[in-house]
């Protein structure tokens, strides 16, 4: 009987806990999935060296591969501010200049974002390559807009 009661309480808790997190934990505001370069540049020294996630667009023609290493450097922008990123590792297949990326790493006193992990943030349009080359544009929200820079 005690096990049953525990089961009931537990199953209700699962649901109410999850939903409570959504409703009262101010899910949207608290769970800030990433920050943007505009926010990063205002960081004080207290936030140096702490793990953060920064999203933005990889600036065109900013990427430099350092030969004989796995290091690359590029700039990340949110349309307002731009920050330099020093990355070491293998970037995702869909990581490209002019496209979105979510960079995990830490911001340091040298005003560079140091990272070992990049995720590619793609847009919501899908079309064959021939269509893209023909210059077709499908409606999208726009990468910069999805960053929600205040």
């Amino acid at each position: 009987m005690a096990g049953k009661k525990f089961g009931i309480i537990f199953s209700v808790l699962i649901v109410v806990g999850g939903l409570g997190y959504l409703a009262f934990g101010r899910f949207g505001e608290n769970l800030v999935y990433f920050v943007t370069p505009s926010e990063v540049v205002t960081f004080g020294s207290d936030r140096y060296g702490k793990k953060i996630r920064v999203a933005g667009m990889v600036v065109e023609a900013s990427m430099k591969v350092i030969p004989e290493t796995l290091k690359i450097r590029f700039d990340l922008t949110d349309g307002d501010k731009t920050i330099p990123v020093a990355f070491e590792g293998v970037p995702p297949d869909l990581f490209k200049e002019g496209k979105g990326a979510v960079v995990e790493g830490y911001w340091d006193g040298d005003q560079v974002l140091h990272s070992h992990m990049i995720m590619a943030k793609h847009e919501e349009d899908y079309m064959p390559i021939e269509m893209k080359q023909a210059g077709v544009k499908l409606p999208t929200k726009g990468l910069i807009k999805t960053l929600k820079v205040d």
Binding site: S11, G28, L94, L138, K141
Partner: protein
Amino acid sequence: MLSTRFIGWLRRYEKWFGIAAVILMVIGLYTGLVTSSADYYQGEVVRIMYVHVPFAQTAMFAYSTLFFCSIWYLWKRDPIVDNAAHAAAGIALFFTAGGLLTGSIWGKPTWNTWWTWDPRLTSFAILFLTLVGYLMLRTFLDDKEKRATFGAILAIIGFIDLPIVHFSVEWWRSLHQPLSVSTRGVSIAADMALPLSLMSIGFTLLFTYMLMVRTQMLYLEYLLEAKQGRLMSEERL
């Protein structure tokens, strides 16, 4: 005896939903895996969309069905409606798990991660937990009335997660791309929209078919259980 008439109705019409679903899915899979083009940005891997999106959509459709059946049950107190709600929950849990799994497999080659706590993924995981909680609650309550009533209340409360799942990619910062079909228009080329819509409609019909079968299953189980119960109490006498 209304329930039995309803079961008879399900039995008579279920096959048409099943057949229609299979036809759409066969054409959908053929166009999706054989004739449609690769995406300009993702390449071939975009084909996962034709199974991931229908799974996720059906999960949400199934939860909506659970929600409506729960309201209906609280209003009319008809046991067969509770059977339908219970059936919808089981199917919803299956599709939610499938949505999470296919999404994870799509996430690795495109995003470079199997899982991340972005708002869409988190709210979808909460949908999964809600369904687990709902089905667990039902197993722990012995009284049929209580089981149905408390379950319905829980399912109705859990419904607030559904709009959050849908709009999370528009409202908040997420890794998941925004909606491809929205007030902005349709952002999927016809070549890819064809297999996607065939699969989506096919899965919706398939869900209807599954709901019809599973509702029968739960009703018949309940019927046999009732018989068995009566038999046992007769024996004791």
